[in-house]
Structures are given as C-alpha cells and as structure tokens.
Amino acid sequence: MTFHAKVELSLWLQRTRDDLKMYHKEKSIQIKSSASALYNNLSVLRIAPRNLTYFSVVHANMVNMVSASWDGLNYSHRQLQSKEPNVTTSSSLIMQAAWCVLPYREILVLTSQKGIQMYESDGSIMVYWHALDTPETPTAQAVFARGIAAVRDKYICVGISSGSVLVFDVPSKGSNITLSEVLEEHKESITDMASECSGSLECIADLVSADDSGNLSVWKSGEDFQLLNKIPGFDMSCSSVKLWKGTVVAGYGTGQIRLYEAITGIIHAEINAHARWIYSLDIAPFSGLLLSAAEDSLVRVWHLTVTPETNSVEIVHMYNECVTDTQICGAKFCDGDGYAFAVTGYDLSEIIRYTQA
C-alpha cells in the first residue's frame, strides 16, 4: 500500500472508527496553577536513562515543572519564580520557559520582563542570570525576553523585545556562561526561535528567529553568527517557528502555516491551517510529524516529507483533535517519533496528553 493510500485510509478510519483514531487521549497531568496565554507555553524534556519526562508550563510569574515517570505512577512538582535583582518575591511576568538540549547538558531557560534565568535541567540550581536593560521609568515599548533555542554544541540564543538576539556561550558544565554576541537584525519584538532539529550536519542553516511583524532571519552559528537570509513577513506576526532539514515551518497570527526553504526563502507551501492565532508548532525530527495548535481549540497533526536532493517538500494532513472550549497555548511532541504529544490551554490546570493507538 502506498504511503498516500495509507493516509487516505487512516483519515477515513478516523472518521468512522473511534478505536482506530490516530491518537487517543491519555490521563492528564495536573499542574499546580493554570497555563497563561503565552506563545509556545509548554516545554517537554525526555530523559530516557531515567524513564522520566519533564514538562514545564508558565503561569504569570511562575513556572510549573512536573516530572512524570513513564509508568504513570510517579509525579513530582516544582515551581520556579521569576527573579528580580533586588527584591525577594517577584511579580515580574515570565514570557517563556524551555529546555535547551546541548551535547553534555540540558539547561532550563526562563525569560521574563526583567531578564533571563538559566537552571540545571531539574530546576534545582540557577546557574546564570542575565538582567535586561530596563529603563528607570517605564516606556510604552514593553521590555521582555522571549524566544529560546539551543544551537549546535554550545550556544543558547534568546530573543528580546527590542528585536535583538542574545547569544550565550555555554560550557559543558558549570556556571561560566557568557554573553558571546548580540545579533541586531530584527526591528520588532522576537516571538520565537528554533534551531535545526534533524541532527543532520549537512544543513547550513542552524537557527531561525521570528518576530512580531512575521519577519524571519536565518543564521549560521559560529564565533560570529552569520545572517544567511531574511524572509519578509508582511506584518503578519509569526508566533511559532521550527527548522527541520533546512525547511522553515512558520505559524502566524492569521492561522496560516508556511513552509520555506531556509537558505533561499523560497516558499514551498502555504496552509490555511487554523481559524485563529497559532500559538505553538512542534516537529518530531525522526518521523517528520508536525504539530500545530491555535486559539481555535484545535490541534492538528501533519506529516512533512523533505527531500533535499530534489528540493521538494510535501505536507499531508494526518489528524485533528479538538480541545473543547480551550484556547490552546502550548503543544509539543513527547518523543522524537511523535508517538505522543501534550497540550496546554489558557486557564487550564492540566497538561492533556495523547498517544498513538
């Protein structure tokens, strides 16, 4: 049976047989406080050697961290607060929390109105703090950090509301993290960033950054990061972006998803995917499954095929899940194959999980 026929059959079966749906809802994980309406508000870290998965969800000035054992029996919770330089408790709002996976360590990064906090992966120790330049009296232009990506072996990149991208150099252990470079390309606030996640060393582009006007910048990492390409946005805010096998997948406030060839900016495909603002995209790098989630209550699963030799990209719709009465703010695969995914929604105090039948 051809792949295409399999997809057709799968779609037909989804509609007719509930037990043959591609994904089933699993037991939700309760979190200590509800998710805030922020882009990409879910991060997942799979720790295979310990049969654990970590989840993190932002609530206002806090991050809810849950560690879930794979047998579903053990859950442990931790809450991290945003930090302010000179007060003990902070009301500074957190914009995003995400794990950065580097060859020798995983760092949990929190970005807030005041700065950037970096922790060891279990959130137990803060290893680095970078304060943002905040003016004495507040200005109309909001100040915050947003957009987090681990790049190649040793960089963590974080976006800023001014449009700058901070590049941090991270050693294989310890807290000697330094600010290596500031990339000044974007003029609007950074919304999201993504690094090449296929694992392939052949891809030239390492990082894509997105901003509030939908502009995308494609970078090559190194001692000095190099701007490879700029893809214009036409004032449609790009809230979530992924980079896989040299293809940029971008989700916009209009509900559209676009696929571009990173180096050239050539558009492969445009999907009228959602009826409201897209809040989260994710790719399962081993299978090419793509996850999109929006304020319209829908999570959609797609299948991407990228053939670099022929420069061709195919996208096929696989599955829909409607999370009733919920504006979804985070959706991530829990593993590299896309066997399971997790979802968060505004005002929901749970992480909803789905796994393949």
Binding site: F144, S213, G253, Q256, I266, A275, V316
Partner: protein, 391 residues
C-alpha cells in the same frame, strides 16, 4: 508585558459598570414609605451617570492612565472603580460593589477571550465609548470630554501592530486568569458552561485577515501554485464579514462591548405579551386575585427587605433582594440566603404595569387613565406602586 493596558481596562470595565448601573437604577425604587426622598427619578439617574462619566473621562485621570505602567492589581482596580462609582451622589454597599466588580470583570473576560482578533479589542472599547456617549448626549461638556478621550485613544492605539495588541490582550488575560464566576446572564445564553468556563465555538465567520481553514497550496520553485489539497477541519467556518470602523464614529460591526443589559429578557417579554393579549379582549376576572396574591407575597418581601436596607435616601443596594442577586450573579458562593426566595415574576415592564392598572381601575369602577406608578389613588394603584418600588 504590555505597559499600555490601563486606558482600555478602564474604558471597558467602566463601560460595563455603567451599563449595569444604568439598568439597576432604572429598576430601582428604594422608598419604604413612598416619600420622594428615596425614589430615583430619571433625572437622578442621568445625573449619576453624568457624574461618573465626567470623572472617568476627566482629562487628568485619562492622562494618568495613559502613562506606561503595569496593569493594577485587582484590589487597586476595585478601589479606583469604587471611587468612580461614588463620584456621584450614589453610594454602593460592600455586597453590591463585590457583585458589580465580579460581573464587570467576567463580562470583560468574555469579550477578551472571544474577540476574534487582538485588534478587535479596540472595536470593543469603541462600542463602550459609543454607548457612553449616548448616556451623556445631553450634557455637552461631558460629551466633549468623551470625544477628546476617544480621539486620544485612537491616536495611541491605532499604530500598534497586531503582535503588540496580542501582547496587550495576553497581559489582560493573565490579569483575569482563574476567574470563573458564573453569571446567570451568560449561563442562560449558553455562552458560559456550568463550570464557569466560556464556550468557544468552532463555527462562524473567521476573523478579518484569516482564511477559512482547509486548504493546502503547494508552490513551484518559481512561486507558481502547482497543487491544491483540501483537508478535513472539524469546524464549520465561513468567510470573514466586513471590518468595523476604527474611527471616532462608525459601525463597529462586532457586538462585543455593546450593552447586553438593555434588552428585555425573553421570558419577561413572553409574559408581558400574554397579559396584553388577555386585556385586549376583556377584563380578566382573576386579575384582582392575582394582584392580591402579589401584594401578600411582596408584603412579605418588603418586611424581609427591611433587614437588608441600610439608611434610606441615597444608599443603593443594587441587588437588593436575594432573588435579584441570583438573577444577576449565580456564583454559587457561600453567602447563604437567610430567608427563602420567592420566585415571582415581579414585572419590570411598564407596559404590563399600565395594563394591570387598567384592570385594577375597572374593578374599583374608577374611570381614569392609568397613573404613573408613584401616584397612588386606589387599591390597585397601591399594589402597583409597591411592585414598582420593590423591583
């Protein structure tokens, strides 16, 4: 997060507050002894509205709000809104203010959540301003303030990008997070679930600028479209409707932010229609009995009411009977009613009052026109007066 949320917070919350106050004051007649002192005339009501609006749209107040700053805490916001409400001769008791705040905030949360695009938050704000303009259309000085403020708002917010407006919306959603007060009004309309969460529809027109989901377009390297695929969407969307006006005047198109309290509730409309039909034919012989029953029931309510009322005169208990509290806010809180609530349809419709007065008039064999509610002259009129006062 956004530093320019406060002006919109006050316009929208203040707008909702004014809608509620207007509706409650129209229904309110607080006199216990039929003297003029406690009755809220139309002039009183207009004066209250004018005073509050004049304070809210005061130039200095607005300038203060327009300074870049974080959104206030709930406590601070409530304090300022209470002050605003008390900018007039009206005084609200604690319970009324609590209920009022919850109602305002839940209405705003509903509007924020369901607003199709972040930019539509401005249209919602302009709907509120349009209605406020109507309240003060006969007071040129205040009307002028409202216009000036509206111009300023247009000036400040129009240049913001969609992304910045979304950030503003996200900031406000964080502020309103975890509030799930159930509002009878919303529950009845099925826009809110019994668990307090709002219903998000997956049908209807898409927002302006969004395409109806369901299409994949594939392009060649030269940019030419080479393939179209459709996919199932699990929703039933239609093309977007026209955009509302962001100018000083104009059709805003979206209905969020308009006065949802001004429409007569359907069941009451239904009831009053029945009455008219009966009286159009011939006088209902049971009408007198009905009036007597009502009088007895309301007499009991009146006695019970005395426990609730604070000083007479200028004090207002917006939701003065437990029944009315339940009518407006069904929050399921632990404020136990200390007495039973009688579920009578105390009419708020002056049309019905007129008809009843006419019936009563026929029974007492007095041939005169139905008098306005505060001019008692016969038994029927007494009862009607009491009904009006207690509603």
């Amino acid at each position: 997060m956004s530093m320019t949320t406060l002006p919109l917070v006050f316009i929208n919350l203040g707008g909702e507050m004014l809608y509620i106050l207007d509706q409650r004051l129209r229904a309110q007649k607080t006199a216990e002894d039929n003297t003029q002192k406690g009755i809220w005339s139309e002039d009183d009501r207009k004066r209250v509205m004018n005073d509050i609006i004049a304070t809210m749209f005061n130039k200095a107040f607005m300038e203060e709000l327009l300074k870049p700053q974080d959104v206030y805490s709930h406590r601070a916001l409530r304090t300022v809104l209470t002050r605003l409400a008390h900018a007039s001769i009206m005084r609200l008791n604690q319970a009324s203010m609590d209920r009022l705040y919850e109602l305002m905030v839940m209405a705003f949360k509903y509007q924020l959540l369901l607003c199709p695009r972040p930019r539509d938050l401005l249209l919602i704000s302009y709907n509120h301003i349009d209605a406020i303009r109507e309240f003060v259309r006969n007071t040129p000085s205040v009307l002028n303030q409202v216009d000036e403020t509206h111009r300023k708002i247009i000036e400040v917010y129009t240049p913001l990008s969609d992304g910045e407006l979304q950030l503003l919306r996200q900031t406000l959603l964080i502020f309103l997070q975890d509030m799930h007060v159930r509002v009878s009004f919303f529950l009845k309309d099925k826009v809110q679930n019994p668990n307090g969460r709002f219903v998000l529809s997956t049908t209807g027109p898409v927002p302006h600028g969004t395409e109806v989901p369901g299409l994949i377009r594939v392009f060649s390297r030269s940019g030419r479209e080479i393939k179209r695929l459709e996919f199932p969407t699990e929703g039933n969307y239609t093309s977007s409707i026209r955009v509302g006006s962001f100018e000083l005047f104009g059709d805003r198109v979206i209905r969020f932010g308009t006065n949802m309290y001004s429409a007569t509730p359907p069941e009451e409309t239904h009831t009053s229609k029945n009455y008219s039909q009966k009286t159009n034919s011939e006088p209902n012989p049971l009408a007198k009995e009905e009036l007597n029953l009502l009088a007895r029931l309301m007499g009991r309510m009146e006695i019970l009411n005395q426990n609730n009322d604070s000083e007479i005169g200028f004090r207002v208990s917006l939701f003065s009977t437990e029944q009315e509290e339940k009518d407006i806010v069904a929050s399921g809180r632990s404020g136990d009613p200390s007495f039973e609530v009688i579920n009578i349809q105390a009419t708020q419709d002056t049309q019905v009052n007129k008809e009843l007065a006419r019936i009563a008039g026929e029974f007492t064999k007095e041939v005169e026109e139905p008098e306005p509610p505060d001019g008692p002259s016969n038994k029927g009129e007494d009862l009607l007066t009491m009904m009006d006062e207690l509603v």
